[in-house]
Symmetry: C3
Subunit: 364 residues, 3 copies
């Protein structure tokens, strides 16, 4: 069971163009493309006639032609041309169409009832399109349920162990932790003052910074799997504006209940004009995620052998307050098929609220 | 559920020799070989003792020896020698044997009750062994139920889209269509007059034929999946004897409910002595089937996710009259486990009946 | 269903060290390692917190640290350190620990109730650690239920067919067979007098021995899958001490119901100082097992399509008395979850008992 009445990221904006793109979102086959005027469109990918995948067909202007018998579908999902036999178009000859919002360089699809779709409920990832930041991103497929990735990201204490050679550091373990809920948004905040500079941040500090720093890792989660990390390091006792600062986009979209698309993005407030940063981040994400998180998440998924988390009765630690809270919010939403009620603070509001030595006060 | 009381093609004649050949027909493991006198034989491939596959064993004269403990079986499937212990042969020590007809360069097995086997019911594929034709053939394994391949072949309008660069052409879309039933045989006939010559036929017309032609595509289907295509092109308004003409053998044998053996053959009435034709056809079939049909059929099968065609409630078009008719005949035969009652017109009869501008009158 | 109250071999001694080794025994995930004092330890491999596999973590002294959030477990399976949050350790934070015996260069785990574990019930494989023998061994994974491997090994008549080019020979078919039961131990003995020397034994006889020999193949089976082969060849009519003589270790541990670890070992009483023997045996086992038995066992398993041996109603031969007897003993033990009651004769006792022209009298 997936949460239907919510937005899901199906692709990065730059993945969708004049070539048909196939995705599976919540077990539904979707074909994405842009119309000639540039508008992005998402329709069902399974032809209602013989179930051929439409993405193997052709884009004719704004119309998708099935690869098999040439039925043509428009952006509403309706069949608009049948080249065969008497040419009649049966009423049932249609595929789903999905309400689509293109925002912050991401393609968001509404997988629930049309009448509930509300563009204002798309969480704020404006950093990705903000010219004061340099952004780079990509997408991984992970053979694990998306809830395992939420657990992973909402509780960043794992960095100290799984990523000990990259972003992990002892200061994280001793950090001050705060969990805040606002509507269905969960904030999991770590404030780690007075510790050595983690290796991953050295480049932003000249490469050989030996003094202690203050570090913050603030994660915002919105249902079902939209996460934004506000992470940075500043010289000991100094305002965060004097430090290096990154927004991490971590958006988890269920392909099916065993597979997850992980859309990652990095937006940095320094070296904004340095194109070499992009490859450096791609390499860093490759090292941390592809080589460390992904193998662990997939091994974890295998260890669970198709059983649910609840059936396996996991031992809970006090540090699981973030994962537990997100799981509860999500489970309740799925049970009632309700809509998320995100806090919808702007990044600026969050940023300002957090300048006071990293104490986030998310409710303004 | 498969149709049992019918003939299935298990192999081309030239695939069966003095080496044991393994096939799975309707989910039953079969081992094929030739006796020293050249007679082809098919017996069950699973040793009744420890279930080792016999085809990994040896052929000793006309006898198959199990690779594991050396039990020997003859062409009747009976165990004739036990080299172990007291050497006694238990009554139950036998594998099935299959009634086998070798006809038209194909090996046909009867998968039902022996008493119903009737060699005269083998459909006519005499073109494959006719010296007035040059024939070439092969076999593919496709990860899709054989009914999807029947749909594909009985309704050739898909050629215009899936094979637009090879055999497809606009004349097919505007063709005159005729569905004829005779017993359990279904004829799906397309007569496509006055169109440009499809590329695939250019070699038979000198390579640069610019005038319009008449084209015919007549498909004969017999249950469960025995199809013969009579396809050709003739100069506009001329008798078909003045044109180029090919019989296409399209025989679909279920390996299991998810996999199909596709035995394809081509028999042409021109360039009968030109051995280079064979490789040209192999290449053409590779391009059209391996690169176009097969990926689509397998994608279609995946899109169906193990559900039946009926459960998915496909939208029907008027051009689906052929697929629908074949599915109904086949389904009724399977439900009653009856025997097909094929029309059994000879190819000559069909050919003569069809010379009148391509109007087939299959009932003489 | 597996037999729980018994010892299983999880690894060779030399596979377990200061790197965490993963095994799955009877469908249970196990991590093996040595403490700093060299003691081998086996604990559950699935962290109770988030189900990460512990073997991807670290060995810190005698403690295993989970790769994910750093929980630490000691050899009793108890969590001894939680680096996260308030640091409290929930009572349920533990993994199983397994009673372990290291004996005869093998690591034996008790997979049942602790109170029943009895080290004295570990069968005698002392040849592996006996300096009068030269021993070499390894482990294969086979995609077949372990019962198929027991069948294979307890009835060595298959050698004549499956291994006809290596160890097989006609003398085996004509051998004198004896089945002896003692407690839950089954002895399946073949005495094959007066036959040509099998090729595999030629090196031990100078390479070109043309006279006839006496051969013995005595297999001892203990539940669930602990087998020892006493096999040798001696000049016709001479005491076995004048011949060449090998113990074959064949221990079958179920990974799950479809997969088996096969621990093979060879202990020879000749050329004890010749290190080249090891590679020669590895090559011979590769040829006989990897190239002959394994493909057949896996094909056999596929042919059974997930059905049980009983459901398939195998035909039984008089030579199946060994397989049938072992299956019955094992099935009864599993049904009652009883403990094996092995004969526990020492190898010396067996050896002495067997010197009289190869007639084993296993009950002293």
């Amino acid at each position: 069971m997936f949460l239907n009445n919510t937005w899901y990221v199906a692709a990065w904006s730059n993945e969708v163009g004049r070539t048909l793109l196939e995705r599976t979102i919540c077990d539904e086959p979707v074909a994405l493309y842009r119309k000639e005027d540039g508008t992005a469109v998402a329709i069902g990918n399974r032809c209602p006639h013989r179930f051929a995948p439409l993405h193997l067909g052709k884009l004719l202007g704004d119309i998708v032609q099935c690869p098999y018998h040439g039925l043509q579908f428009d952006e509403t999902g309706g069949c608009v041309f049948n080249p065969n036999g008497d040419g009649k178009i049966p009423k049932k000859a249609r595929v789903p169409s999905y309400q689509l919002v293109e925002k912050h360089d991401l393609i968001w699809l509404w997988m629930g009832e049309d009448k509930f779709a509300d563009e204002s409920k798309v969480p704020d990832f404006s950093c990705l399109a903000d010219k004061d930041f340099r952004s780079v991103g990509g997408v991984f497929e992970v053979e694990a349920n998306y809830s395992l990735l939420i657990d992973n990201l909402i509780d960043l204490t794992h960095a100290q162990f799984l990523h000990e050679n990259t972003v992990g550091n002892d200061a994280i373990a001793g950090g001050k932790f705060e969990l805040v809920e606002n509507g269905t948004t969960v904030y999991s905040n770590l404030w780690c003052p007075d510790g050595p500079l983690p290796n991953a941040w050295q480049p932003a500090f000249g490469g050989n910074y030996q003094k202690n720093v203050d570090q913050w890792l603030y994660m915002r989660w919105d249902a079902p799997g939209h996460m934004l990390l506000d992470v940075g390091v500043t010289p000991l006792g100094r305002p965060r504006g004097e430090g290096a600062w990154v927004y991490g986009t971590d958006i988890l979209t269920p392909k099916d209940d065993k597979t997850t698309y992980y859309f990652w993005g990095i937006s940095q407030n320094y070296a904004v004009d340095d194109a070499a940063q992009d490859d450096a981040w791609r390499q860093a994400i490759y090292t941390a995620f592809e080589c460390e998180d992904k193998p662990l998440l997939e091994a974890q998924s295998k260890m669970m052998r198709g059983k649910s988390f609840e059936d396996l009765e996991p031992v809970l630690l006090s540090s699981d307050v973030g994962p537990v809270r997100c799981r509860r919010v999500l489970q309740k939403l799925i049970e009632t098929q309700g809509q998320p009620d995100p806090a919808l603070l702007s990044l600026a509001e969050l940023r300002n609220a957090a300048t006071d030595q990293g104490r986030i006060e998310p409710v303004v």
